[in-house]
Amino acid sequence: MTAFILARFLRAIAVLVFTVTLVFIVLRLTGDPAQQMLSDNAGPEALAAFNEKWGLDRSIPEQYLYYVVNALRGDFGVSFADGREVFTVVAERIPKTLVVTVSAFILSLLIGIPAGILAAVRRETALDKSVMAGAVLGYSVPNFLLGLVFIFVFAVWLRVLPSSGSSTWNHAVLPVATFALFNAAAIARFMRSTLIDVLGQPYIAAARADGIPYWDVILRHALPNAAIPMVTTIGFVAGGLLGGSALIEPVFAWPGLGSGFVNATNTGDLPVVQAMIVLFTAFMVAINFSVDVLYAVLNPKIRKH
């Protein structure tokens, strides 16, 4: 078990280093930040001065080494746009994004898992069919579109919730709901199919034959087995939270990492874009690592290897 976790940990570090390198190189090959940041009629001297100021005139390996050494010390450079520390620019947006993503994630588990279980247990009934119809709808409508629909219904039409900003808790309701419904749909669908698969296994028939009460069979015999593949799906959902925030936050003008990322990309603010990608990658790698560890905890076949 320890060896397993250690191996996965080293792999996670390797993935992180690889991604940082790749992103660094790709970002430097996709356009000249000086052109993007400065006005169109900036002269060649101005461009050269910009490049020199930010070290962009040096070779890519040189820039990379410089970047990595500084990043390891927690220094991600300063924003091209306003000259503030990138670390501060990114860090101040993190809580806003966490509020939306974490509550949406918890909410989607609270809705998706019971809905999927009920649909599987009451399979082929009206309950199952309505849950699945809702899930297909929630999953197939793009979440930014769902966000616009929510704004139209609750902010424009019913006028009960604000459409944009983040000054009160009410402002978080629509982004969280948009995010949660989309993810809950994915979780419910997968929960249902996984549980139906487990319920068809011989050990479930054997447990029933033994006279174990119905809900005991579901909760103690079927769910622990369904949990193993569920962890993967929930990991995907969790990993998609930050990426999803780039789609949803701009819709609601929610000042988190997602809208920050979109702004920085539009203005060519290279250090900010890069730091955010590193953060997103680190988050994804951390999620994958947790999924691997949870696997080992839930699945005796891995644990007892």
């Binding site: 054997a206 033994d210 622990p224 839930l298």
Partner: protein, 313 residues
């Protein structure tokens, strides 16, 4: 000897497709006795077990007949304890639970044993079914055991219920021959020790011959012949039973007769031939056989067959 289980005119079907899987079967089982159900795959022998244990899978329903149990003491009737073991022991055990959890929860459910009492009884049961170092095995998972060991665990689990009837659905089919012999031997011992009745399903006449007192031969959802097991093997009356016995390869070097395959194949349940379902494959069939299903008639002592032209003894 009192009757433990009586099955009368049992009919089981798939309502959605209007297919009868079991079509009016009758049998009874005395306490302490062993009944063997034999027949080809799909003849309804496993479904008969599920119907008796009242655990038919979804989409399959009992639509007629009765399954009744009688109690010894005082003539009162109550549901007796039925335990069941299955063909593929490893996939019949929950992969996320330990052997200890499996046995101890069963002991709590059936005997109210908890904590140390349950653990000690679980160890005793494992030892009884022939698993050595039993105490240290309680923390093992099914994937760490062989198929034979898992079948022993399932039997130990069945014993935890102190059953009056043990239903064994192809208990040795997935095991290799030496393991088969050990499991059959164990079942024989346990039957003698506990006095439980046994219903054993197999397509292997050798298994039936070894364990059963009586045997019932099934074909396409009907019992076509029932007899004491020695009688059935020596003097089969139904041509299908006879053919099944002729299919068995012999290991006797003096016996030079090669196994004889049955011509044709088992008909599909949704397109059964009229009359006796076996007549298209039967060498003795006549016009009569394709008109009506033959009623069950005595052909010997405690020996009945559903055939217009039984094989002469």
């Amino acid at each position: 000897m009192s009757t433990l289980l009586t099955v009368r005119d049992l009919v089981v079907e798939v309502p959605a497709r209007n297919i009868k899987i079991i079509d009016g079967i009758n049998f009874s089982l005395d306490s302490g006795q062993t009944l063997g159900l034999v027949g080809e795959s799909g003849c309804g022998k496993s479904m008969t077990c599920y119907a008796v244990a009242d655990m038919l899978p979804r989409g399959i329903a009992r639509i007629g007949g009765s399954v009744t149990f009688e109690q010894d003491a005082g003539g009162g009737r109550a549901t007796p304890k039925i335990a069941m073991i299955f063909q593929d022991p490893t996939s019949s055990l929950n992969p996320v639970h330990t052997i200890g959890y499996y046995l101890e929860t069963a002991l709590y459910r059936h005997q109210g044993l908890k904590g140390m009492d349950a653990r000690m009884e679980a160890v005793r049961l494992l030892e009884r079914v022939g698993i050595d170092r039993a105490a240290s095995r309680l923390r093992a998972y099914p994937h760490q055991f062989s198929g034979g060991m898992n079948q022993r665990v399932m039997i130990a689990h069945a014993l935890a219920a102190k059953p009056q009837l043990l239903i064994a659905d192809e208990p040795t089919t997935a095991l290799d021959v030496t393991m088969q012999a050990q499991i059959l031997h164990l079942l024989e011992e346990l039957k003698a020790e506990t006095g439980m009745a046994l219903m054993i399903v197999s397509h292997d006449l050798g298994v039936i011959a070894r364990l059963a007192d009586r045997a019932a031969v099934m074909y396409c959802g009907k019992i076509v012949e029932t007899a004491p097991v020695a009688e059935l093997l020596q003097r089969p009356a139904h041509p299908y039973a006879r053919a099944l016995i002729d299919c068995m390869p012999s290991i006797d070097p003096q016996d030079l007769d090669p196994p004889v395959p049955i011509p044709g194949s088992v008909p599909l349940l949704d397109s059964l031939p009229e009359g006796c379902h076996f007549h298209p494959r039967c060498l003795r069939a006549s016009v009569e056989c394709s008109a009506h299903f033959p009623a069950s008639a005595a052909v010997g002592l405690a020996h009945e067959a559903s055939c217009y032209h039984p094989v002469a003894a």
